[in-house]
């Protein structure tokens, strides 16, 4: 990609002019989005290529606002002056139709200030920097490397590259272009012996082919894959742990899950009417939610899998300290709900595609803890036994104390209205000189009490725990992390499911 050169959506000036003309003629405010995306996925199964798939999309969506704040929306996977004109009229018709059914009105967009920007992420390893056959060969090699560790293993490996660009324009003159390239390699590793199976995962993410070509990335993925494979094998025959309340240590990927599920979603202001972090629809700013050493931060990081510098309505995305040293500080606010929530908009709007309406979303969310215990070891090389040594040496647990180490994030879910969150791990260790492995179990709790129990952190920040967030049926890339490990004291509102 030539940074500073023409971008793919530059060619749509006439489409934008047509929308502006239509908006003026009908006296309507609008936000337009043009998306241009090409992607490729390579799927390797047990050392053989299962499929290479490609896809592309060039389309547009238009959100139209009447003077009194009624809204209509129309989208198509075609971009032309004719299509834009038709979509505008359809959206306008629906906005007017909705007004007959007391539809919700919102005029906050009229407060936006025009913005003109181009943000082009430079790619160190562009997608065409390696021949497809060579990429395929390398992936097969990565897959076999794990699969040949043990005959009980089977391994699926997926590489996905997405070259995506957005152009967002509004009737107020706003015209922004930005790209959101992303890439990941993902191993799904199943160990099988008789009727017993266990599946674990390992991945690495970024913005370009560096996930496959960069030496450091390769080393890291290899370590992660081998560790996950050994874990899957060890889980065969592992027992279930008794459910209950325990002192816990979670790794950075689970900490991302905690930040994302337990706090991030509840802090999104489009749902604040029924969120546990809202009171009468207002963000509960100033509420103490954790130890004063803890902060939760969300914001785009260049090169990150979930990077997005500009919002889906064409405003700059800000880095937000949701929790600042123990206090609830700021919401992830979209323009439509920020005022009602009593906070400033933070450019949190994201969409999955041109067919969707913007909602408040996270990007890269992380938990930061002041003065973490230093760890002089790469995360991937740390075993449960090493962790036990670190915790006892730091005085964070005493020999004989029952502490569970949860490792490997398997996804999570939250109901912000009731304050319940869950996420799952790949495995549980009971820490001791000789840690004992147990099957995974759900980690669940109450949003308003879990952070209060985070009492320590170990290691540096690691912020590459990737995933896809599916809020309101829209899948967008998410990422985040924390220090290598967080310690969570026993809490009656935090439970490990189990036998």
């Amino acid at each position: 990609m030539n940074v500073g050169g023409p971008m793919k959506t530059d060619k749509y000036n006439s489409v934008i002019d047509a929308c502006r003309g239509r908006g003026k003629a009908r006296d309507m405010y609008f936000i337009g989005r043009i998306q241009h995306r090409t992607d490729v996925g390579i799927h390797i199964n047990n050392g053989k290529t299962e499929e290479i798939s490609t896809g592309s999309l060039a389309g547009m969506g238009i959100q139209v606002f009447t003077e009194d704040g009624n809204m209509g929306f129309a989208a198509s996977d075609q971009v032309s002056v004719e299509v834009a004109t038709t979509l505008f009229d359809k959206a306008a018709f629906l906005a007017e139709a909705g007004s007959g059914y007391q539809s919700e009105t919102n005029r906050e967009v009229y407060k936006l200030k025009p913005l003109q920007r181009r943000v082009e992420v430079p790619l160190k390893y562009p997608y065409d920097s390696m021949d497809l056959a060579e990429i395929e060969e390398r992936l097969v090699g990565l897959n076999r490397e794990i699969g040949t560790m043990d005959s009980r293993l089977s391994v699926r490996t997926i590489l996905r590259l997405a070259d995506e660009e957005w152009r967002i324009f509004r009737s107020d003159g706003t015209d922004v272009i930005f790209n959101t390239p992303r890439a990941f390699i993902y191993h799904s590793i199943t160990a099988k012996s008789g009727q017993e199976t266990a599946t674990t995962y390992a991945n690495i993410s970024g913005s370009d082919l560096g996930v496959l070509l960069d030496e450091e990335s390769q080393k890291r993925l290899k370590r992660r894959g081998q560790k996950a494979a050994r874990l899957a094998l060890d889980l065969l025959g592992a027992a279930k742990f008794p459910g209950g309340h325990y002192k816990l240590v979670i790794d950075y990927a689970l900490a991302k899950g905690l930040a994302h599920e337990a706090f991030g979603h509840a802090a999104e202001t489009d749902g604040l009417d029924s969120s546990i972090l809202g009171e009468n629809g207002r963000f509960r700013k100033g509420m103490i939610v954790s130890d004063p050493r803890l902060s939760i931060i969300d914001g785009p990081l260049e090169g990150d899998y979930a990077y997005q510098p500009i919002s889906a309505i064409g405003t700059e995305r800000q880095t937000v300290r949701i929790v600042d040293h123990g206090r609830l500080n700021a919401g992830l606010a979209d323009i439509f709900s920020a005022h009602r929530a009593g906070v400033e908009p933070t450019g949190a709007e994201r969409v999955e595609s041109i067919f969707h309406l913007p909602i408040a979303r996270m990007s890269n969310i992380r938990i930061e803890f002041d003065d973490p215990i230093p760890v002089n070891q790469d995360f991937e090389t740390i075993t449960a036994k090493d962790l036990y040594q670190m915790l006892t040496e730091a005085g964070l647990m005493v020999p004989g104390e029952r502490v569970l180490y949860l490792t490997g994030f398997q996804g999570g879910q939250v109901n912000p209205a009731f304050g319940d969150f869950v996420f799952n791990c790949s495995a549980i260790y009971e820490l001791s000189e000789e840690p004992v492995l147990y099957k995974p179990a759900i980690f669940s709790g109450k949003i308003l009490s879990v952070l209060q129990s985070v009492s320590a952190a170990l290691g540096q920040l690691q912020l590459d725990a990737m995933g896809t967030c599916g809020k309101m049926g829209q899948g967008v890339p998410s990422c985040g992390g924390s220090h290598y490990f967080l310690v969570i004291d026993e809490n009656p509102d935090v439970m490990i499911g189990g036998e």
Partner: protein, 436 residues
Amino acid sequence: MEMHERLGELLRQSQKTNPRLKGWRFDLHWTDGLDIGVKNNQIGGPYSAPGYKQSISGEIYLVWEDFRFTAAKLEARVVEEFPDYLKLWEKTSYHDPDGVGIFTPASLPEVDLADAEAQAIIDRQVERPFELLSEGIHRLRQSGIRKVDARIKCFHDQRHLMNSDGFHLSYAQTPVEFYFIANDSYGKGYSEKKWPDAGDINRIIRETITVSQQLEEPCSATFSGSMTLILPPEMFETFINQFLIANLYGSLVLNRQSRFVLEDFQEHRPVIRDDLSLTINNLLPYRGSSYICTAEGVPGGTIVLIDGGKLQSPILNLKYAKKAGMNPTPVPPGGSGFFITGRNPFPQWEDVLNTIDRGLIIYSVLGMHTQDASSGHFSLTADQCLYVENGKIRGKTKAVINGDFILALNHRESQLFTVEGEDNPGFVFTANAIST
């Protein structure tokens, strides 16, 4: 000439001029329709504004010489920019010694999938989805529901399948979906290929009201240990999808990533109780899961995957059918279109409820997508439950639940029950539960 005909013609010409291209098929969808939401008791608004969407999508599959294949998504520009696409498709082809050629079905089933009423709504009666939502909001609010969220989608999908052996199928379908969610606690939905009749709408709204009202009554029960869990039909379907159907896909079975291996099917190994069977049926008129054939051309139909508790066939596309040495099967699209049946009729829910000493009716779980499907073990938070004692519903509670679902499907003590208007039964079994 329409887009699918032009694409077919371009591919035919390419085959003549490029001897490496041995065959092709595509499945093209031309879709348009309406999507309207309700948030916090109001139609529309910034997150659920009434919307119109149109798209051209689908997939293309090319067969090249030397066992090379292309799998790609179709989009609107594919005809205009065909030479570029063809170059890209050849460049991104892959070698697969197990790959399959083009399949043409000997015959195709007939099934009604297009509803004139739904089509009329998209074309000119846009007020009707608004009216359906308005009626739902009104009735739910009148019954004391504080917060109503809802959504309705009504689409027209013109589907065109063609292949290099001269196969051509074009048909229309009209998927319609709507749901109502009350107080963020309980929702009920409809997903068919026709506009709902008054009875459907009434049933969805009535059940949303009944259950959400029951979930408004808190109950102070505390429990820990073995417990009767009751999965209403939609929750039972969720469990079946996650822990049983997910293990039946041929690609997972043959790659040792499923709970089952191919020999289990060849030897008809018993995996669930011998009075239970699992069937796929894609041929019911106007059902959301019905279709005439898959993108590969495999006809929709009825197939028994588990008969009398014994495995019969994995879910097989053409490639894995070839690898397994078995016939390809229809697939359950989007995890629907399957049916659990029993050798004997199941009792009614009301009769089963009376027999439960202590149990939880589970309406919602958090974390299902995080569960290891191959293991059968579940560990979930059941955030919307009703506590049952001595055959009576006592009120709302929450629990962390754990168990082995496949084991439960084998237990003689597990029970299934019928609920009016539902395709599948509900399920009563014993697992571990801790109140939270």
